[in-house]
Structures are given as structure tokens and as C-alpha cells.
């Protein structure tokens, strides 16, 4: 009695499949593009840091100084900008990617290692040279955390207002990395967000802009 339009349903299914897979393919391309971007930025930054180390070693041989202030002071700001940019790319990777998610963890570890290496140099710089930028270690989590999001906004604003006076090092406290665990133990980090300002002042929970500015 009734007829069934199999042809119609079939064509509609094919069209849906084509459109859907095209969408997925475009998404995959975008995701891959992000992976390539992050990868090349990490490589770039790694080259810059290696170069810095080497320059430092070479200076040491020629001048007998243990730490060469001029190299770092001139480069600190541009390196900080570069690490911040990488952090942003990593963030977009985390928010947007559906594909190649396993790479994120690895990228974050590399980023954290470089970032903490940079932090260490700045600590040395402050100790040995005429350099008085404020360094902030910022422990956060990627789990839902409104205080962390708010803290992020405040730190962003501070950094934007005085990029040369403040150096922020964001550390994902859930990252399974020896050096992160070491710092967490050293500063006895039990909750997020926590700020460690100038390596000695630990403040737990959200900290307002005014309060941070007191330390600058």
C-alpha cells in the first residue's frame, strides 16, 4: 500500500555524511594547524633559551663573571613576551582541540620546564644584578575554579599595565612533573590559586590587584 522513498533517505544520508565529515575534516585541519603552531613556538623558544645559556657560558670563560647581567637584562622582556604568547597558544589548544589531545600534556610539560628555567634565571638576575622586577609563581588548576579564572584576569591586567615590572610564571599544579612537585613541596602548596611573590611571600586564595601591587 504505502511506498517508501528509500532513494530520498539514502541521498539525505549521503549528503549528511559528506557535510558532517567535511566539517570534521576542517576541524581536524584547524587542530593540526594549532599543533604545528605550538610545536614551532616551543622549538623557537627552546633555541632562544639554549642560545642564552651558551652565551652566558662563553662570557663566563672570557670575563670570569659567574653571571652576566647585561645578557639577561636586555633579553628578559622579549623572552617573557614570547613565553606568554606560547602560553596563549597552549590555552587555545586546550580549549579548542578535539584531536591530538595527548600532545597537550607533553607540550605543557615542555612549556613548564622552559618557563621555570626562565624563572630561575630571573631569580639569579635579581640576586646578582641590578634588576628588580617582581616575580610571581602562580599555582592554578585546569579544573573548574572561578577563583583561578578571576586571578588569571587580575594577573593579565597587571602584566599588561607594567610588563617590565612584573614577571608571572603560571604553573598547572596538576601537572605530573618532578620540578612542579618539588616547588609544591618547597612552598607547601595545598590549594589553588596560590601566589608566591618574590620567592618568599606565599598567599593562598584569590588576591586582589591592590594587594599584589603592594609587593611591586
Amino acid at each position: 500500500m504505502g511506498k517508501i522513498n528509500f532513494r530520498l533517505y539514502f541521498i539525505a544520508a549521503v549528503l549528511t555524511a559528506v557535510v558532517f565529515s567535511t566539517g570534521i575534516f576542517i576541524g581536524w585541519l584547524l587542530d593540526s594547524n594549532r599543533v604545528t603552531n605550538v610545536q614551532s613556538q616551543i622549538d623557537d623558544l627552546a633555541v632562544n633559551f639554549q642560545n642564552l645559556d651558551l652565551e652566558n657560558s662563553i662570557y663566563q670563560i672570557f670575563s670570569n663573571e659567574t653571571f652576566v647581567c647585561s645578557i639577561y637584562t636586555t633579553k628578559a622582556e622579549s623572552l617573557s613576551k614570547q613565553t606568554d604568547q606560547l602560553a596563549e597558544e597552549l590555552n587555545s589548544f586546550k580549549e579548542m582541540n578535539q584531536f591530538q589531545l595527548t600532545k597537550l600534556d607533553f607540550f605543557k610539560k615542555r612549556y613548564t620546564l622552559m618557563n621555570l628555567g626562565f624563572w630561575l634565571q630571573l631569580v639569579n638576575l635579581k640576586k646578582n644584578c641590578d634588576y628588580n622586577s617582581t616575580t610571581i609563581l602562580y599555582f592554578y588548576t585546569t579544573k573548574p575554579c572561578d577563583d583561578c579564572a578571576a586571578q588569571g584576569i587580575v594577573l593579565d591586567k597587571l602584566k599588561r599595565e607594567s610588563p617590565e615590572k612584573i614577571m608571572i610564571f603560571a604553573i598547572d599544579s596538576d601537572l605530573d612533573l618532578g620540578v612542579v612537585n618539588l616547588l609544591k613541596t618547597r612552598y607547601n602548596i595545598t590549594k589553588v590559586p596560590t601566589l608566591v611573590i618574590n620567592e618568599k611571600n606565599k598567599i593562598e586564595g584569590f588576591v586582589s590587584q591592590n594587594k599584589i601591587e603592594e609587593f611591586l
Partner: protein
Amino acid sequence: MPLSALDIISIFGSLFTLYFSFVYVLLYFFNKKKFFSNPPLPKKLPKVSIIIPAYNEENTISLTLQSLLNLNYPKKLLEIIAVNDGSTDDTRKVMGSFKKQGVKVVNKENGGKASALNAGIKRSGGEIVVCMDADSTVERNALRKTLGYFEDSNVAAVASSVKVLKPKNILQKFQFLEYLYNILLRKALAFLDSIFVVPGPFGLYRRTVLEKIGGFEKGNLTEDMEITMRIQSKGYKIETSTNAYAYTNSPSNIKKLVKQRVRWYRGFIINSKKYKNLFFNSKYGDLGVFTLPAYVLLVFILFVLILSMSYMFVNTAFHFFNVRVISGILLTPIEILNPVLYTSALTVLWFVSITISLIVVYLSFKISREKIKLKIIPVYAISALFYGFILAFTWFVCILRELKGEKIKWER
């Protein structure tokens, strides 16, 4: 980020809407000409009886009757029967004033819309019986555009295309849009022999078929859907015209809208149960294996999607404001978003679904011969969520009541 439960729901949702939209769009392109044109009028015009059941419609009935008197159809072949279903207001008096213009008035005790329709049909003599709501009007040439379909002896009913009469507030404008979409949908379904409601505002029936299958079912919440499903279950054809317009009053506030929709949706559930043998039954062709199951599925998807989207929306908004309050920083400078950095696979999928939906909306306007106002599109897009939420909520109420086995309150 890995996919959340909501993401997965929305992927399935957009996949299904994509598929159904393609079915309608394909039907449109396969039958483009027939979408707009109607078969020519029969050489020998049939006698037509129009039945208007009314219960307390003193405000709207005169417009309805006036539009019927204006119909472009030979007066001697046209019979207009107004049935006063025991109204307690002045409906009887208003109807009486039309007597001298040839309107027949039947006064009976209150018994519900179906009984009023049956009483009118009983007193009528036309080969074609038209059932018309007392809160609706019809355009002059509606009969001339629809009667040709009855030349096919297997056609038992013809639906008109219903539009919202003078939409004023945003809620009515939504209904306006929804009705246009339904015009497209109904015509597409006609090509699948799958129309499952001939809407009340202006529906034509072949008298012999009505007599064979019996009249309208008394006490049914949606007697128009019931009789349509009955006609379908007997294997007759149902057609529709995309340019024979009837105009109906629409609920002007949320409370009235929910009340109307609870009746419709509950009626759908009840009549689906009554005609459950139609579902997944290849004997009934596309109606059984595609249209009815697909409709239920779509309702389910709409329901889940709207509820989860509302949850997400509220949740995101809450956290957004919470973060603003904690940080004390209301606005962060708008950074220029790098489209390559911030476009995800999901965004692409959403974009595709929205594009296809817009095509469907465009086709709805086109076949209904309405002009699209571009500037209202963003307003629609934003508030569609809100309207969808009302409808999803209404479905929720209906399903709940059905599960609880709550008695049906028949309101005249």
C-alpha cells in the same frame, strides 16, 4: 578539550537536524514546481459546505464569517453553517446577524468541538466539507486553490497553509515563523504521503470519506489530528496547498501559549498511542517508517538539546559573572580573536548546522511568499533559545502528565 556530555548531545542533535533538513530540502528540489502550484479547478465545481463550530467566540466569529462570505466561489454552491456549541456569551446573537446573508445557524447544547463539527456536518449537503475554526479567517481564493486536489479520487482531505494573523509581540512573531516552517514541512510531508495533522483553521474533507470512517471523535484533545491519522490509517491520501492561506489568532502570552501547546502535544501523545500500529509499519510507507518516528525523535532531540543548552547557558553565565565579581574587573580589553586559533571542530559543525537551518528558514519564507527582513534575524537567533525552552518545557509537562496518567481536562 575532550568532548563533554553536552558536546556529544549537541553533535547528535545537529547530525539529526542536518539529516531531516536535507530530507525537506531535497523534497523541495525534487518537486520544486509542485511546491508552488495547485492542480486546476475541476470543470464541474463541487458543492462545498463550511462548518464553523464556536464556543464563546463573540469577538472573532464575525471576522471569520465575513471572510467566508467574501470567498470567491459561486454562492449557490457554497453553504456556510455556523454551529453555536452552547456559548454563554453573545456568539448566538452575532451568528444570528449573519442569517440574512445566507449563513445557516445551528444552536445546540454544549458538547465540545467535535460534537459541534459532527452536528454541522449532519446538516450539511456539500460533497466537500470544510471545517473552520471560529478564531480564523481565510483568503478569498482559498477554495479555488484547494479543490483541484480532490480530482484524485484517492484524496480524502486537503490542508490549507496556516499563518499567524497580525503578529504583534515577539512571542507571536516566533509563532509566525514557526507556522511558516510548518507550511514548508507540511508540503514536504505531502510528497511522502505523511501529513498527520490537517490543521483546524481551514481543512477540507471529502464527504463520502467522512461518512465511511465516521465523524470527528468526541472528547479528543486534538480532533483534527485524530481524524487525520484515522484517514491515513485507512490508506487515503492527504494533500496541502502552500498558497491557500488561512489566518489564525495566536496566543499572546506565555501562559496562553503553554496552555495551547499542552493540548496539542498531549493530543499528539494520545493519538500516537491510539494509532501506534502506524509506527514502524511499512504498510503505511513513509508515514510509518520515517515521518512519525522521525517526529518523535526530533521532539526528543529538541527536548534534550534545549534543556542541556539552557543549563550550559545559565552555568556559563553564572561562572562568568562570578569571576567578574571576584576579580572586581568588569571588562577585560577585547582581544582580537585569531580565527585560526579559536575555531574548533565543534564550531565548524555548529556553523554548518546553522547554515542549513537558515536555508530551511529561507525556503519557509519563500514558499509562504513572505518577505525576509534581514535585520530581525539576529533577534530571532538569540530569542529562539528562549522560545525553544518554552516548547521543551511544555513537552516536559505533557510527558510527565502522561506518565502520571493524569486525566485529560477537556476544555471547550
